[in-house]
Amino acid sequence: MTDKIINVAIIGAGEEAVPLIRTLTTLQNCKILGVADEKKDAPGLAVAGELGIKTYLDFRELLKQKELNLVIETSGSGSFASTLEKLVSPNVKIMDWASARLSLVLAEERERLLKIESSYKLTRRYSALLEEANTKLDGKLLELSLLNETSKSFSSAFDRRNVAGFIFSLLRKKIDFCVYALFLSEDQNYTLVLISNGSIPPELREEISLRMADRYAKYIKEPVDAKKVSIIEKIVQGPGKAEGLREPAIKNLCTAALAVLEKPLGMMGMVFCKEYNLTSDEERFFDILTGQVALFIENDRIKQAITHERNQLESILKSMFGALLVINEKRQLILINSVTEIFLGVKQGEILGRDLNEVILQDEIKELFHIIRAQRSEFFSKEIQLTNFQNGITRICKANLAKVHDHLGEVIGTVLILHDITKEKEVDRMKTEFISTTSHELRTPLASIKEAVSLIFDETAGEVNANQRKFLDIATRNINRLSELINSLLDLSKIESGKIELERSKVEINALVLEVVENFSRAAKEKKLALKISLAEGLPQVQADRSKINHVLTNLVSNAFKFVQAGTVTVSTGFYGADKNFIEVSVGDTGIGIEKKDFEKLFQKFQQLDSSLTRRASGTGLGLAISKQIVELHAGKIWAESEGLGKGSKFSFILPVIYEEAKMEKKNILVIDDEPDLCSTVKARLEANGFNVLTALSGQEGLDKVKEYKPDLIILDLMMPVMDGFEVCQRLKKDALTSAIPVVVLTALEQEEAAKKALSIGAEGYLVKPFEQESLLFTIREFLKRGD
């Protein structure tokens, strides 16, 4: 097609010319130079004018145009055409309307065809591009869906070997390689997992192992011995067949390091046994997968570590033979162990995460948490009885509670541990029973023997001669000895099993000494020994078990008598200690004395020193052991002194003196609260429980009453007008005369902080209003007990 423009002149602008004009205008290679018609109103002229084509009334003018190539005349007469020929240059073609029309139609057609051809070419070009794009998109979609699959699979529990198999399948969908190698390093243990469609020849395996280890070593820059790598091979039905295995030689190895946050985990690689050039797309896909695999492996590692630790913790919790309950600072149960479930008959799922007050739990347990919260100190212990909700089994438990702090010292929770001591209590009870039974079984026949002998001896059953009397005397003495032995054994066994309870009363030591000495005066005369006393004046009374101390003193004096041939036994009393807070009682003798080496043995059971000397002395060897136990139960001490053999000895013991006044039976409690109603209800309740109660309606009144009546415990409301509880508490704690009186503050529910503040200025505990009367009583009893 030539690009040459054909310049056209149209002669004759009648009706027929109009379509011609219009059509010509649309043709790209035609330009209408002008349209001529002698008639002014010829329609073609108007149209030409609209289209911006020059119009002429005189056709000769139009024909003068130099560039003219074609003239179309519409007369249809041949003669006109020849006229026109003479007017134009010879290379201008003259065409009549009909021919023009035909040419036009042909030209139109051609134009149309050209357009179609060009648009067809465009479409082809576009569709080619589209096709390309489509393919790319498909590829991307495949990638994405594969990645999606992998990440889903990775997030579930997936064995590492299965991972390798999975990756193999994924990669094989896109890339034609032979073996997938996954090299993992874990604490100097190296594993190589090889996945392929067929079995891998050993030399190939070796080579892969060497190369992977080598590359990994280069990556972490430390030597990795390929022989230390344990190889795991797996054959997987992957897509396609990795035929290259038949010629086992690595032609190409594409590897990528597996790492998370710069921590090396291993390497993965594709082994090619034939020539293969990876496209950038394939490389990128492999890369993305590598990242995924690395993340998966690391996550798996972390999961395993967590599982391991959790299992450890669970084992520890399981093997604890105590029940464990932990609450956080919001009073929610955050941890219980399986033993707790057994003791209480609850299930973890039922109570974990729930508030202590709302959950169904034994009252005794809730009470324990309540108490430790209301007190200042960190620890609390109590024996409680617990019954399982489900099976009704009752246990006696020792409960130990402790507050838990974070590194800043804030209380973040409380731990409760319960130990089942039901068996111990049972054993205790059995011991007591045993002692009582044995006691009876031993003493009853002895009583009969003694009485029978006695009846004969004192001649109630008739006269006895001298010999009979002698033998009866022997019998009596040995009965007494046996009786003493039984007593000592039972005493000792009672003491050792903790069964002894001291009956304390106020004891005048000097008076006691005189009593005991009196008992020995006859024996002293018989043995021709001097029995002296040296008693200090003004000794305070001691709180002691009179009969037991009597026992100790008697033991010491009787020992002195045993080991003295001739001489003196002296019993003395006096103060002991710089602060005079002990009373000392000593029994000294001028007897055989004690060697240094024997001092240790003295107070041990069944020890007697040097049988030759003691053959004359009777005794069980238990006396001093028992005395030691008794003295130590009184919080005292017992010891012996001697300069050596033949130089006599001195046995002493000390007992603590308590200067305080004896406790009154009824405790006095002072309630300080500005609410008269509260005062009266609390007073009524406490009095019903055996306390003396005083009340005060203001801080000042409270302070006055404390000074006047010296109560044993103070209940103090914090919110009071004029002088509030804080001030009262501060003043009480600052004054030495009142600081020892336990103070329990009362606070409203929203003001626990205030209560904690009170604890920090010295209050012993707090109760939150509204409180149960039981809590009040319990708290009061606890604090009163501690004061003792």
């Binding site: 031993l442 002895l446 009583a447 109630t460």
Partner: protein, 135 residues
Amino acid sequence: MSKKILIIDDEPDLSALLSFRLEAHGFKVISALDGPTGLEKAKSDKPDLILLDLMMPGMDGFQAAKILKGDPETNEIPVIVFTAMASPELRQRVSEIRAFDYITKPFDPKDLLEKVKKALGGGDELRLGAGYTGS
């Protein structure tokens, strides 16, 4: 008229020995080997004093004492109990059953006679505290 003493004790030996001694001192003695028999004899023979062993099989001394003290026919008779073990708990329990006094085995005959005489000598049963001469 000599005083009558009832001994309730499951040990026949001891019972025999005690009877002998007490009779030698001019008392009349009847005995029973268990609680129920003892209670019967207390009602039928109306003794002036009962010596009661605490540890007996079947009905023990505590139960027997409770019944004796609960029965208007017998609650006036003073009771002295025998026991192998003295302890604070025991003393508590003994005062609960309103016994006159207690004696530990093996006993001192002099001690026994003293207590018997005291119990029969118009002594008040309810002498708790001061009434206890046991060691």
